[in-house]
């Protein structure tokens, strides 16, 4: 059996939700992502792993054009969402509604819990009547597994919640605009094990509806939540494959060295 080249799309195009082709990212002169080709399957969780500074967050931001908000950042190559070129054929605001993002540090707006969730649907004009807003807020909080904990204090500020609750609030906020893809950049790095377990359980539940890409520094987390894992090193995509294979028998020495704690 000939080894699969690590940098080719490896999955059946029919399940491909996002296809990145030869993506380069530069910060000024410095190249942070090098000719990365990666296919992300629909309704799967894909984990991005690799040492700090290898370009995971940079790559994640390419997928919803968040890099454009960074001065001096230049993206080359192609990113397709359902086969459509996101840089050529989509408006960034619409794109970000379809490809939502959850960050490392929970960042609720300084508004009520209710308004945090209602904000997106309102600005995207997804709702007009108050009962529609209620419905979306309710549903999104439910889906994020937070509703029961906050239903009696929806008008209190989101910033008053615990870290884990804030992160689930941010997930509810992302869900509220009905995205197809959710990007998560180390969503649990500021959470304790119980709050982490809740978010992981949530990711598992969300997988039936959404395509999820998660950056994580925890190998165990990647192993627990993802179906596919991609390993980055110094801006290169070294290896991508079924999570089980990556963590039991990676093909590349570099992957093995990293995940077993021999370098980092």
């Amino acid at each position: 059996m000939s080894p699969e080249p690590a940098n080719l799309p490896q999955t059946d195009a029919s399940q491909a939700k996002i296809v990145a082709q030869d993506v380069d990212v530069f910060y000024g002169e410095k190249q942070a992502i090098k000719k990365v080709c990666l296919t992300v399957n629909e309704r799967e969780v894909t984990a991005l792993i690799g040492p700090s500074g290898c370009g995971k967050s940079t790559f994640l931001r390419c997928l919803n054009r968040m890099n454009e908000t960074i001065p001096d950042c230049r993206v080359e190559g192609t990113v397709l969402l359902d086969g459509i070129d996101v840089y050529q054929a989509l408006d960034p605001v619409q794109l970000r509604a379809r490809v939502g993002m959850v960050f490392q540090k929970p960042n609720p707006f300084p508004k009520s819990i209710y308004d945090n969730v209602a904000f997106g649907p309102r600005i995207h004009g997804l709702v007009s009547r108050p009962d529609e807003v209620d419905e979306i807020v309710h549903h999104s909080l439910q889906r994020a597994g937070l509703y029961d904990e906050v239903k009696d204090r929806l008008q209190e500020p989101g910033t008053g919640l615990s870290g884990g609750q804030q992160q689930r609030l941010c997930i509810a906020r992302a869900i509220a605009v009905s995205p197809e893809v959710i990007l998560m950049d180390e969503p649990c790095s500021a959470l304790d094990p119980i709050a982490t377990a809740r978010v992981e359980e949530l990711i598992e539940e969300l997988r039936d509806e959404y395509t999820i890409i998660i950056v994580t520094h925890s190998m165990q987390q990647a192993a627990r939540v993802s179906q596919r894992t991609a390993f980055f090193h110094l801006g290169d995509l070294i290896e991508v494959g079924p999570t089980e294979e990556i963590f039991t028998s990676p093909r590349e020495k570099l992957t093995q060295g990293y995940i077993t704690g021999r370098f980092g």
Binding site: T248, S249, T260, G261, R262, F263
Partner: protein, 231 residues
């Protein structure tokens, strides 16, 4: 390449050492059981029986070390394969040692009878298997996948020598019913040796898996012993 966390390397080394010790001790037990059989040495046979406890203890030690590493280090990739395979390898060694003790016990019963000429075939077969245990332990210690494959392939010779021994013993028993007692003891012993060969083959598969992350390709070579009941 060593791990960043040095104590992790130490724990993995300790696990490997325990297994190699188990391998050496197991081979020694088996070698002594064979010698007790061939030399009709009841005292040695008794010592083999007494030595079995130490191997059981080593298996427990492996189990404890594995649980500890899994809990504290959450190993992955080749480390994970090493740790999980250790459990299986230890259990195979333990079974081999059990068979060795069994052979020693049965050899004591045989000492009441005159030795059958077939003892030479048994000894040949036993020496072959002892060499297999030695090779598989070396494959593990030296992380030598080629050696593991060689052990795996050599099991065919063990199976073949069991088949021919089976025929030989059957012939004695048909010619002279008085030999049925000792011949059936020898037959059970030969079967034990053949099973030891199988466990050694299992270990070679595990060693190969640890090193390569893959299973040895192809069907295991099997001699045609289908005309004999699987006693």
């Amino acid at each position: 390449m060593p791990h960043i966390v040095k104590s992790f390397d130490e724990e993995l080394d300790r696990l490997r050492e325990t297994l190699v010790r188990m391998g050496n001790l197991t081979r020694q037990q088996f070698g002594r059981a064979l010698e007790a059989l061939v030399q009709q040495d009841s005292l040695l046979a008794k010592q083999v029986g007494e030595g079995d406890g130490e191997i059981d203890q080593l298996e427990h030690a492996v189990n404890d070390q594995v649980v500890r590493v899994l809990a504290l280090r959450a190993p992955l990739a080749d480390d994970l394969r090493t740790v999980v395979a250790s459990l299986k390898i230890a259990s195979d060694f333990e079974r081999i040692a059990d068979y060795a003790a069994n052979i020693a016990r049965r050899s004591q019963l045989l000492n009441a009878h005159a030795q059958l000429p077939a003892i030479r075939t048994v000894r040949r077969m036993g020496t072959l298997v002892e060499r297999q245990i030695e090779e598989v332990t070396a494959a593990q210690l030296e992380r030598d996948a080629g050696k593991a494959v060689a052990v795996w392939n050599n099991d065919l010779a063990v199976d073949e020598s069991y088949s021919s021994l089976f025929r030989e013993l059957l012939t004695y028993m048909m010619e002279d019913p008085h030999t049925i007692g000792p011949a059936s003891h020898l037959l059970f012993i030969a079967k034990n040796i053949e099973r030891i060969g199988d466990h050694t083959t299992n270990i070679s598969e595990m060693v190969y898996f640890v090193i390569t992350g893959k299973y040895i390709e192809g069907d295991r070579p099997k001699s045609d012993s289908s005309s004999f009941p699987n006693v």
